[in-house]
């Protein structure tokens, strides 16, 4: 049955405008990311139940899905083109930009490698003043009877992080809009989301290397190896051991493709380390991670391996993926701009470290900010 949801003529008022407001945010509330179905089910204000969010299907017993929506419109997305959708009279033509955005977000989320680099995604304003906290003399001391408790110092400061806009323009010809079924068009548009995801991944890796301060006060530490130009397992252990002492879990690894092949070729990674090989089995789980998440990025040289803690970086989202359309009549094309405003901010500098095998350990040890407290 179609038309039961009543969205045919009220789609703009009930879904489209609230979705735009949700994505863009306001002075008091930053924009947030959500695909169309999630928005329909969780965030769209329900006109039938004032003060509640989330739309339900015609029977009112389940959250509204995209299939319910198309059913209500009496359309089948497998045989529908963007042009069909736009040419339907009534408010429902506003579904078209929302769907285009949905396809791109789907691509972005399907290959969201950059999410492996971050601890959390936080809504934010364009310029963020982020605090940093440093503990001095934080070790509890033994004290005698009636002796004064020694004080530690906690210093607080702030740093400013600027987030930027990334955008890409798409031109779709009338032929695509008129002839390409929505489902097929969606697969191509998802590629745009995947490209966007790649850009964000590269930016994230760059932030892990450079830090979030252009003054250079937040760069990742670089250490050398025991024997120059030869990375061995002991060089990796050095990082894990220091991490255990400074309460940092280096469970993420980044290399370029060449170095990835070298590291994965180490016996310790490729050979089964079964029982019976050693006299005593040492439980190393507290020091050496049992699972190392490995990603490849071309931002490193052939000599470098980066390790970082999952808490090393957060994503700041000023405005989620936004789609804007315009019609260029003289060229018979539709222009679509896809943009996102976001950035990354780091937490502690010690959360990140790079091993560079072109450098000797003797002259390139851990920096002062990675010195254990005890």
């Amino acid at each position: 049955m179609s038309g039961e949801l009543g969205l045919f003529d009220n789609f703009r008022e009930v879904v489209f405008d609230p979705l735009q407001a949700f994505l863009i945010g306001s002075e008091t509330r930053p924009g947030r990311e959500a695909d169309l179905e999630t928005f329909l089910q969780k965030y769209a204000p329900n006109p039938l139940k004032k003060g509640t969010c989330g739309l339900t299907n015609a029977a009112g017993n389940a959250p509204l899905t995209l299939n319910d929506l198309f059913q209500d419109l009496g359309q089948d997305p497998r045989h529908m083109t963007l042009n069909n959708l736009v040419s339907i009279s009534g408010d429902v033509r506003y579904l078209a930009p929302a769907l285009v955005r949905d396809f791109i977000v789907e691509g972005l989320e399907s290959n969201a490698r950059y999410r492996d680099l971050i601890n959390a995604s936080l809504p934010s304003t364009l310029t963020v003043t982020s605090p940093w906290i440093q503990y001095l003399d934080a070790n509890p001391q033994p004290i005698g009877e009636a002796e004064r408790v020694p004080m530690s110092k906690i210093t607080w400061g702030e740093k400013t992080v600027r987030i930027t806009k990334k955008a890409i323009g798409l031109e779709t010809t009338d032929e695509i809009v008129m002839a390409c079924p929505l489902n097929l068009l969606g697969q191509y548009l998802a590629e745009v989301g995947i490209e966007l995801s790649d850009t964000l991944f590269t930016n994230g890796v760059t932030c892990l290397i450079n830090g979030d301060q252009a003054g250079g006060a937040d760069t990742a530490a670089i250490i050398g190896v025991t024997t120059q130009n030869a990375l061995v397992y002991k060089d990796l252990l050095r990082v894990f051991s220091r991490g255990a002492r400074i309460n940092v879990n280096y469970v993420n690894m980044l290399t370029n493709e060449e170095e990835s092949n070298n590291i994965l070729d180490m016996d310790v990674f490729k050979t089964q380390q079964g029982l019976g090989g050693t006299m005593i089995n040492v439980d190393t789980k507290r020091v050496v991670p049992s699972n190392l998440r490995h990603r490849i990025s071309e931002q490193f040289t052939d000599d470098q391996v980066m390790f970082f803690d999952t808490r090393a970086m957060n994503e700041l989202v000023g405005r989620p993926v936004m789609i804007e359309n315009e019609r260029i009549i003289m060229r018979q094309i539709n222009g679509t701009a896809v943009s996102i405003i976001q950035g990354f901010t780091t937490m502690k500098r010690a959360h990140r470290v790079i091993i560079d095998k072109s450098l000797a350990w003797s002259g390139n040890k851990f920096p002062s900010w990675m010195t254990p407290r005890t």
Partner: protein
Amino acid sequence: MKRIKLKDPSGMFRDPATGQTVIKGEEADLIEPVGRLTQDWLNAGGLLLVNPDKKPLAPKLPPAEDGNVTDEGSALLDSDVTASPPPPQAPEAKSEEKKPGRLSGMLRRKKAPAKKAPAKKSAAKK
């Protein structure tokens, strides 16, 4: 070719747009056109422009041990730091005019324009 280095030699800098990489205390050639991130770092002082030698004036000297470095990143980037300094102006011509000579004022006034031209030429040649 301009060269750059990190202000804090404990880390690394990478510009994904140009591939510019600077590691620890090493000096690297500045890749041109300069990437936006590199420019930001030069402006903020995270990257320092290493002073190029000023060749034409004197024989090349070995660089100082402490690193001949300036932190005027962007300003130096915009201006042409490798160009030789502007040629000195011709003070000779003016000083000659000011010199108390034996000739009377009238004579000097007549001869001055004729003398000025060769004096300027010689200064320009220098």
